[in-house]
């Protein structure tokens, strides 16, 4: 009803026009130009050289390591995110409010500090870290598990916060009706709750994946910088910049940007087309 009253489409007044031009220029200068420059630099010696740079054994390993650790994190995070959000929305228990506030901690803590904390907890000289590596043979720090754990820490809020409002809005009557008709809890969850959650879970997960692929601060502390072992793509870029391997740095950067952008676009499309109405 209020749409019809005052949409200033078509002819904008000049203050509106100035604001618009400033906004577009700001975004253009801040984001668009750097992106163009890095793509131009990565392809300046042709596609074959670009391909050569990203298929060098160390670079390829770094990219693959980044992808599989991020993917593993995404799956675990999706499952645990659904459970956590479900528990927060449906059950009452002592300490719930505090726990609910703690979900947002990873958003506030700098990722470098996250890395420091994890090294202190799981590091080879620390009690828990030594116990795990001597008794179970599981090394976490300077090994892929550390990468996955640090990514899990950073991404935890994304899925939980994406699902919580959807669960809150979900019609409890349906579930009660199903329960009255004798449906088991797992059947109710699978048939009624899960279908409503699929889109928010997917878009939250994709968002966390695109973030994880580029993660640097926590990973560089936790994983170290061992080529062919624990060096992720972002850490590889840092090494390439420091050793003045400009083409390599640009090529791997482009791969990182392309992956993140692709995933981000899919997540946004999902959210836009199926997200709000459910």
């Amino acid at each position: 009803m209020e749409i019809s009253i005052g949409q200033t489409q078509g002819k904008a007044r000049w203050p509106a026009l100035i604001i618009r031009v400033i906004s577009i220029l700001y975004v253009l200068v801040m984001i668009f130009i750097p992106l163009v420059v890095i793509f131009q630099d990565g392809f300046r010696q042709g596609i074959s050289e670009f391909w050569h740079q990203i298929t060098l054994p160390i670079a390829r390993h770094a990219i693959l390591l980044t992808l599989w650790t991020s993917a593993l994190m995404t799956v675990i995070n999706a499952v645990m995110g659904v459970i956590t959000a479900y528990v927060f929305v449906r059950y009452e228990f002592p300490g719930k409010r505090l726990l609910n506030a703690i979900v947002d901690l990873p958003l506030a803590i700098p990722t470098l500090v996250t890395g420091v904390m994890l090294v202190m907890l799981y590091g080879p000289q620390e009690t828990l870290g030594r116990f795990l590596s001597e008794k179970i043979g599981l090394n976490i720090i300077f090994a892929p598990p550390g990468i996955v754990i640090s990514l899990l820490f950073i991404s935890f809020p994304f899925v939980v916060r994406a699902i919580q409002p959807v669960l809150q809005d979900l019609d409890l009557e349906q579930e009660r009706a199903a329960a009255t008709l004798g449906a088991k809890p797992c059947v109710i969850f699978r048939r009624i709750v899960l279908p409503a959650l699929i889109v928010p879970v997917l878009s939250g997960s994709l968002l966390s994946f695109s973030r994880a692929v580029g993660e640097f601060g926590a990973v560089v502390i936790v994983a170290g910088n061992i080529p062919l072992k624990t060096q992720t793509a972002a850490v590889y870029v840092l090494g390439a910049v420091e050793s003045e391997n400009q083409l390599g740095a640009s090529a791997i950067s482009i791969v990182l940007i392309a992956i993140s952008l692709l995933v981000l676009i899919i997540a946004n499309t999902l959210h836009k087309h199926w997200g709000v109405h459910r």
């Binding site: 750097p34 059950y91 506030a108 470098l112 952008l261």
Partner: protein, 276 residues
């Protein structure tokens, strides 16, 4: 309402959640706090006295505050344009805005290096005016600005969408100037979102690491922010210094975000009460 049969599975799920969050989030945070105190309060106090830490804190704060101010202005402007204006290519503007969120901070620093570095695209112009951006504070400022770009906008867009436009039209009909409409009607409604967005930006700016490392180089006393100080302390195996600075930075960020969150909820409650 729930049958007693479900309680077992309910407690199981609650236990899983508590255990998972305990291991993933609470245990590391507790370890950090304990670690900073492990060599006694005196060692902690000494770490806090380090001049390099003081310098780095001051630099971080300066960069972050400047970023917050600029972001508050441009973030609100961009959010306003996205919500209130229609023009061709708006979807491109809207889509581009999330990019800083997805790009690796290292890549952000490197992109700026390609523009402003020694052989950078803009280096002839910069040399001409004798301006240093790379390995200097202006570059670190730009990197932080880039990384923090989406926070303010994403916070403001829903609030501007929910503004009651009837009030604006009414005021306009009664002859109010644009400035009066802004200061008396719009600003009070967006105030708490503005503060929340600024706080998120501040926390993010203070914690920025990868981008300022690449573009700033982390030269002690000159381009060393607090995160870079922590990184150097770790590499030099001064663990107490690293832990102390980490707990300082971490607890400050957590504190301001929680305060802002509390403020936002308090404001919403207040406005609901005044309506109802």
């Amino acid at each position: 309402m729930k049958a007693t049969k479900i309680t077992w599975s309910a407690w199981g799920l609650i236990a899983i959640t508590v255990l998972y969050m305990g291991f993933l989030i609470i245990a590391p945070v507790a370890t950090l706090i304990q670690g900073a105190f492990q060599n006694g309060v005196n060692a902690l106090w000494q770490s806090l006295q380090a001049p390099a830490l003081r310098q780095s804190l001051w630099l971080s704060l300066q960069i972050a505050l400047l970023v917050v101010i600029i972001q508050a202005v441009f973030g609100s402007l961009i959010a306003w344009v996205i919500v209130r204006q229609n023009f061709k290519g708006k979807w491109i503007l809207n889509g581009i805005l999330d990019i800083p969120f997805a790009i690796s901070p290292v890549v952000v620093g490197y992109m700026l290096l390609l523009l402003f570095g020694r052989n950078g695209l803009l280096s002839p112009a910069l040399d001409l005016f004798n301006i240093r951006v790379a390995f200097a504070i202006p570059g670190m400022f730009l990197a932080t600005l880039f990384v923090c770009l989406p926070f303010m906008i994403r916070e403001m867009v829903p609030v501007i969408q929910n503004l009651d436009r009837q009030q604006e039209f009414a005021a306009e009909t009664l002859g109010a100037t644009s400035w009066t409409i802004f200061s008396r009607i719009i600003f009070p409604q967006i105030k708490s979102a503005l503060i929340y967005g600024m706080t998120l930006t501040l926390a993010r700016a203070l914690g920025e690491f990868g981008a300022v490392l690449v573009i700033g180089g982390g030269v002690q006393g000159r381009t060393e922010t607090t995160t870079l100080y922590i990184f150097r302390a770790l590499e030099e195996r001064r663990t107490t210094d690293a832990y102390t600075a980490s707990i300082l930075l971490g607890s400050f960020s957590v504190l301001i975000v929680f305060l802002a969150d509390w403020f936002k909820r308090w404001q919403t409650r207040k406005s609901q009460q005044s309506v109802g």
